[in-house]
């Protein structure tokens, strides 16, 4: 396939890996990839095995489903049991366990839940079913939130009255700051998410390099992208250079996508937000601006939500911060498996535990 296969070349990969080995002199270099798709790609292509011993790759909280707190899910499930409400969602959310059940089990119990591939499909459902209240679960990082803005714009233009969003969007750079501040983790460099960066550009990462001295590198998702990205990061670390650089120049630009940024600015404003496992991070989530609050499901369709309960032994939080590996969680592979997940890291296709289970095993 064009623009994919060329970036999976075996020979070039070997040479890049060799160059990384030549360049990495420090005793220990810890790099964090902050994106579930990077986590998956690293496992799928066996990249860890190509790197020298002194480079450690840890996975961060780059899986939006994984960082969505139980309370959000519980509210979505309550909504699904409301008369006339149809909850529409990306497929990833269906099997994540909330305090007492998942959206999928809610559906089996009679809740109205439908999987869609795009928020535009959810809007279409609302148009075609005027008798239903359609609520879309707006979860995702900056790659996904502009699409919800386009959808809201269409909803306003077309005067679709029966469409709401339950906003759960989160922002990546504030979470990266929280991780850097946590001294337990010890990050030397960040591999920044390719498509979040495509939207937001490089500027939002500058403060990490400037104020915390952490080099940041935007890398594409193909194996050669990741290897070259690691090389560029290692070069900066060895030189003691803290900058933000872009390896993914074929798609991501310095200024990002201005059209998308305009849309985000129009509909959303940053707000303090709770991340599963990381607690509340300031200005790390989105809420609808004044003028669009009539689209917020939480305000407009109040429901009783059960008391939030987290599984006591679940250690997703520590996995999300890169503090432990999936295999260090006592539930991993024994009680918590893809067939019967306890925490979201196991069920989401971008989750660290799910990637680990699939590609490394028990």
């Amino acid at each position: 396939m064009k623009f994919l296969e060329e970036f999976r070349d075996l020979d070039l990969a070997k040479k890049l890996a060799h160059k990384i080995k030549e360049t990495a002199h420090k005793d220990k270099i810890t790099l964090m990839e902050v994106c579930g798709t990077h986590t998956m790609a690293i496992h799928k292509f066996g990249i860890r095995g190509l790197l020298p011993e002194n480079i450690r790759l840890i996975s961060g909280p780059g899986c939006p489903v994984c960082v969505t707190p139980n309370q959000y899910l519980d509210r979505a499930i309550s909504l699904s049991f409301q008369k006339d409400v149809l909850v529409s969602t990306f497929g990833d959310m269906l099997r994540v366990p909330g305090s007492s059940m998942s959206l999928e089990s809610a559906r089996a119990k009679g809740g109205k839940v439908k999987m869609v591939y795009s928020p535009l499909d959810a809007l279409k459902l609302a148009r075609e079913n005027p008798g239903l209240k359609v609520v879309f679960l707006a979860v995702g990082f900056e790659t996904t939130s502009p699409g919800i803005c386009v959808t809201l714009e269409q909803a306003e233009k077309q005067k679709v009255k029966n469409f709401w969003v339950l906003v759960g969007h989160k922002l990546i750079p504030p979470a990266m700051e929280a991780l850097v501040k946590d001294k337990r983790i010890g990050i030397d460099g960040f591999i920044c998410p390719a498509h979040v960066s495509t939207i937001i550009g490089l500027a939002p990462y500058q403060f990490l390099a400037r104020d915390y001295g952490i080099p940041c590198l935007v890398a594409g998702f193909e194996p050669l992208d990741i290897l070259q990205g690691i090389l560029m990061l290692v070069e900066m670390i060895e030189r003691g250079e803290a900058k933000v650089k872009n390896q993914y120049q074929r798609v991501a630009s310095e200024n990002g996508n201005k059209n998308a940024q305009r849309l985000l600015e129009k509909f959303f404003e940053p707000v303090d937000s709770e991340w599963r496992g990381l607690g509340i991070i300031p200005r790390s989530g989105y809420q609808l601006r004044q003028g669009f609050e009539h689209r917020e499901a939480e305000k407009m369709i109040p429901v009783e939500v059960e008391e939030t309960r987290e599984h006591k032994a679940c250690r997703c939080g520590e996995v999300l911060q890169g503090l432990i590996e999936p295999k260090d969680c006592p539930l991993y592979g024994k009680v918590c498996t893809p067939e019967s997940p306890v925490g979201p890291c196991m069920v989401s296709s971008e989750g660290s535990c799910s990637a680990y289970y699939k590609y490394v095993g028990i």
Binding site: F45, V139, E339, E350
Partner: protein
């Protein structure tokens, strides 16, 4: 209800049942063993050892690109016989029909089964029909059981050893993608057809040429990954395959990238995975390639001693990863 639809009465054993059997089933599958329409078919077998298998088919939707549940019901079961090294001879067929099913649809499916059984040379000798109330079944469910005569194939009894080679008979993932696409729930248009086909011809050719085949499977639900895991489970050997050798059509590859699926886990209905004695792989490949359904046969890997019980993949960029059993339900990825 009009005359063109299946009624509950069609399943109650009376006149309507008899009409249905005579007009549709007996006409299509006419053969001496079936024609008495007795409680059992009386059969003769020439070999002492037989293979016997059963499968039920509940595929949704019942018609999907270039195939249907009927054809699947025949080929699926005869393939299960073929990969055990048995020549498929007889089939039974049980239908569970939903009240209201169009008789034309049933005829279409039965005709498809007739063509399929004729192609493979298998006789449908006994059957059963039940009708359930509307809503109790999704249009039509089919069960086929099959009997085959085991070939005298010494290598099939030999244990696998490190160095033995693994082949797949062609490109993978097409049936899974075709059915997913035919459900109409995806926004994607995917020009992929199911690979539904009988693999007996390949087995027969390998047997005739005395290739030392040790193990065969048809990689249906769960795909090639699952079938290789079943091979190594609990064994003292493992398996290593090369990602770059796995044959996948560009359109399947593309659909999988977009949907976040892995072709190694998708169902195939016209393919065979086999393990041959070390040194036999190239010969086996050339023999399979002589056939239309084996024209893309490829050597994909080998049996290894360590790690035992695991399937390893050497990736396109020279890394290694483990290929586990299919875990959870494949959901398309968005974010």
């Amino acid at each position: 209800m009009n005359k063109n639809q299946i009624l509950l009465a069609h399943g109650d054993g009376g006149r309507l049942s008899r009409n249905l059997i005579e007009e549709i089933f007996a006409k299509a599958f006419a053969n001496p063993e079936l024609s008495p329409l007795a409680d059992s078919a009386l059969l003769s077998l020439s070999k002492k050892k037989i293979a016997f298998t059963t499968d039920s088919y509940t595929v949704k939707p019942i018609f999907f690109p270039e195939s249907d549940i009927g054809r699947l019901a025949v080929y699926g079961t005869v393939n299960d016989l073929a990969v055990m090294g048995a020549r498929p001879i007889y089939l039974s067929c049980g239908f569970i029909l939903e009240e209201g099913l169009e008789i034309e649809v049933l005829k279409r499916i039965v005709d498809s089964m007739k063509s399929a059984s004729e192609l493979v040379g298998v006789k449908l000798v006994t059957g059963d029909t039940k009708v359930v109330e509307k809503g109790s079944a999704d249009k039509i469910f089919i069960n086929t059981s099959g009997i085959g005569e085991l070939l005298e194939w010494r290598s099939m009894k030999k244990p696998l050893k490190p160095g033995d080679e693994i082949l797949v008979s062609g490109t993978i993932g097409e049936h899974g993608i075709a059915v997913l696409s035919a459900r109409g729930e995806l926004e994607l248009k995917i020009p992929v057809q199911s690979d539904c086909a009988p693999v007996w011809e390949l087995v027969s050719m390998l047997y005739q040429e005395k290739v030392e085949v040790k193990w065969m499977r048809d990689p249906t639900r769960g795909g090639v990954a699952t079938c290789l895991n079943e091979l190594v489970l609990g064994q003292k050997f493992g398996v290593m395959i090369a990602e770059s050798k796995i044959p996948v059509l560009d359109s399947v590859d593309s659909a999988c990238e977009i949907l976040g699926l892995d072709p190694l886990y998708l169902a195939n209905e016209g393919k065979m995975v086999c393990v041959v004695k070390k040194g036999e792989a190239e010969r086996a490949r050339e023999i399979m390639r002589k056939s239309q359904i084996g024209k893309n046969a490829v050597i994909i890997g080998e049996v290894i001693s360590e790690p035992a019980g695991k399937v390893l993949v050497s990736t396109k960029i020279g890394g290694t990863r483990i290929l586990g059993m299919l875990a959870g339900a494949p959901l398309p990825r968005i974010c």
